[in-house]
């Protein structure tokens, strides 16, 4: 679709704004730092744009910063590109686009790019007690192969304390805690029973994936894309392959397009079932947890039988898929899925009949519609808080153009709403797969995808929400920039707001109902 007329006219009225059409869908605006705030405000307030991601690229003597937005109504991409010569500051846009807050903190930590007006830069990706001051690892001059000799002060890091009351204390959870949890630190500020503020400190799992990808081949990049957030391996590998396919203008065979949807939806079901297991487990409902885990395990076995790997590693390749599914496997899928679906539905029914369970997740960890909008949360979290957004519908890719899947929406934004969304989406995913199977096209599952110089932005609706990958590579297939804009990074940002006011013992339950991946956030 083309850019809305009103927007075009408004943009044309701005002096010194360079416009460039990257494609029918994608409009690039080269603007100055001064123009940035007004442009973002207009996009957000008048055009109801969604913030996609922010990324920095380094050239010889400047940093260029790309602010990416999309318009859900028309499916357009709007890119604001600003040059920041060495030493300059950019105005923070996070006062209008709150979703960009963490992005700006990240850019400060990793590139040393300062945003004027940002209230809280520092100790984010790089922990102050660990990392030497003033060393920006994403800069080209920094050698990412080795650990720097210099190290942080080693002094204990202390977060800002907001609660100044007699008897108030900070209760730390993490980084090593519970049975099988991902590493992260949560500092609960409390006067006794109620959590007043939560300070989340993540990036204990920061593997510098965007940095170490630079200089590797695009083929090795795919291995990284699959493995930095393994619970959504297929989704991220798909986004990555789409970027390469876009650069090469490669057409994917229909059958491969369809199979990609089959795998992506299977991954979504498994991801949601695993979240449901965690929710049940957090409320000590062990039979429900066991039943959900049984479904997860059977889905993993099904995946391994279909494509050799329980988590879809090594299934995708630029240009299609490595292997086809033969008739026998399609049949296996057709036979197994309805039974698994039934078990899910039964579990849902049983859970809905357990009032003591519902008591623990209803009105728990609520994110209001207003906050969901302000924080620009994505995926099931957004949809449980009344935001009907889903890239499969609003920025459709591959065969989703024809499928436009149903998008379930709940209004309450609490733990129960999120549980219902996980169930509803799994059901829809099952239907998508079963509806698609009778219409599988014949033919190959791979077309050639030659390596070319270029860059591309690609996206998928991963199980946990909108994912944007930006890839730039040279003609010999070396990655010069890989940006992984993940749903985890978006949603963790808002998590703190859902905790405030909750009771202490509800913290693990709320955490489970959000079902956020730290691996995906930390990268």
């Amino acid at each position: 679709m083309s850019i809305p007329k009103t927007l075009q006219e408004w943009l044309q009225s701005i002096p010194n704004l360079q416009m460039q059409k990257r494609s029918e869908q994608w409009l690039q605006l080269l603007c100055s730092a001064e123009q940035l705030p007004a442009l973002t405000r207009h996009l957000m307030e008048e055009e109801e744009a969604e913030f996609a991601t922010l990324l920095v690229e380094e050239s010889a003597d400047a940093l260029s910063v790309h602010y990416l937005f999309y318009l859900p109504a028309t499916g357009n991409l709007i890119e604001l590109k600003v040059e920041a010569p060495a030493g300059t500051e950019l105005p923070a846009i996070s006062d209008t686009v709150h979703a960009a807050d963490w992005h700006e903190r990240e850019a400060w930590d990793l590139y040393g790019l300062r945003f004027s007006g940002h209230p809280f830069l520092g100790d984010f990706v790089l922990h102050d007690d660990d990392w030497p001051e003033g060393l920006d690892p994403m800069r080209r001059s920094f050698d990412g192969k080795h650990r720097p000799d210099l190290h942080g002060s080693g002094a204990d890091w202390a977060p800002p304390r907001l609660l100044q009351e007699e008897g108030a204390m900070v209760f730390p959870v993490g980084p090593v805690w519970g049975d099988f949890n991902e590493s992260g630190l949560w500092l609960l500020e409390t006067p006794g029973e109620q959590i007043r503020y939560l300070h989340t400190r993540l990036f204990y799992k920061y593997r510098g994936v965007e940095k170490i990808a630079e200089g590797r081949t695009v083929d090795q990049g795919l291995l990284l894309a699959e493995r930095f957030a393994g619970a959504a391996a297929f989704a991220h590998a798909w986004a990555y392959c789409q970027a390469l396919e876009q650069i090469a203008a490669c057409q994917i065979p229909t059958r491969a397009q369809q199979l990609r949807i089959v795998f992506a939806e299977l991954e979504r079901i498994r991801h949601h079932a695993a979240n449901i297991a965690e929710i049940a487990g957090s409320t000590a409902l062990s039979v429900a947890k066991a039943l959900a885990q049984g479904i997860v395990e059977d889905l993993l076995r099904l995946s391994a039988r279909l494509c050799g790997h329980r988590y879809f590693f090594g299934v995708l390749t630029p240009g299609g898929l490595r292997e086809d599914l033969d008739e026998g496997k399609i049949k296996l899928l057709r036979q197994t899925l309805p039974e698994l679906d039934q078990r899910m539905q039964q579990l849902e029914k049983h859970l809905e009949g357990s009032s003591s369970f519902l008591d623990r997740i209803e009105e728990m960890g609520t994110l209001s519609n207003e906050l969901a909008r302000i924080y620009g949360v994505v995926g099931p979290i957004a949809r449980a808080s009344g935001r009907s957004i889903d890239l499969r519908r609003h920025l459709p890719y591959g065969q989703y153009v024809f499928l436009s899947p149903d998008v379930p929406v709940e209004q309450e934004g609490d733990g129960y709403a999120r549980l219902r969304i996980f169930f509803a989406e799994s059901r829809i995913s099952v239907k998508i797969i079963l509806d698609l199977l009778p219409f599988m096209a014949e033919g190959p599952v791979q077309s050639p995808c030659p390596i070319q110089e270029g860059h591309a932005l690609s996206w998928v609706e991963a199980p946990s929400g909108a994912t944007f990958h930006w890839l730039r590579c040279t003609g010999d297939g070396t990655i010069t920039r890989l940006r992984l804009g993940t749903p985890g990074f978006r949603n963790w940002h808002a998590f703190e707001r859902a905790i405030e006011g909750a009771a202490f013992q509800d913290f693990p339950i709320i955490l489970a109902t959000w079902g956020l991946s730290i691996a995906e956030n930390d990268r």
């Binding site: 099988f180 039979v287 988590y311």
Partner: protein
Amino acid sequence: MSFWPYYGLQRGITTTAWPDGAEDSAGITPGRPCALQTGHAEEIAAACPTQALKAVSQAGRDGVAVDFSHCIHCQRCRHGDNALPWSTDFSWGAPSAAARPALESRFTRSLQVLYVDAGACGACVNEVRLIDAPPYNLHRLGIFVTATPRDADVLLVAGPITDAMRTAISKAYAAMPEPKRVMGMGTCAIHGGVFGESFACAGGLEKIVPVDLWLPGCPPPPLAIIHGLLSLVGRVTPAALEEQP
């Protein structure tokens, strides 16, 4: 609420018979490549993106050796004209070069495990979460998961050992009572896997604490994790990290 036990019973027993009985359910493991005698060793080895495959020549015969500590299950050696055979086993736990002897008999039916995530992607985390789910039911083997190092006999670490987790790992290890054992789970924990050694990752658990058992796999399936734990108390035969043709 009171119906839950009934719903549970309705599903019947789903727990594997392994290690007492055989287990070969489809999809329970992704399997892994086997070493092979072949004339195409060089080609096959060159196609592996992590140098896990090596062309070797022994007694005049050529073949491909597999170094599991580098294999990331990319499946590239599984298909095509030069495909290697793949096993469908899961007995993957292998002693490290510096392994201490298996824990004595008093641990064989009561072993406490502390899991620490040092940058694992969701796949390793998800597999480890399943070890005490009904299909695998870790507890029946007398193995329990604890959240505190003071109770732990085994430190189980997954991930490429991120910078910010170094301290947590050494502190956890130091706080564990003797005798104690350490198990590095997933290819990442062995040499860093796809992440390797970098400014952000140590690229190997051995750089932080002594390791007794390596569990290769990307990710190792739940039964492989259980195989690793049982190896630490000498209840199963450990595997080797490499396979020669």
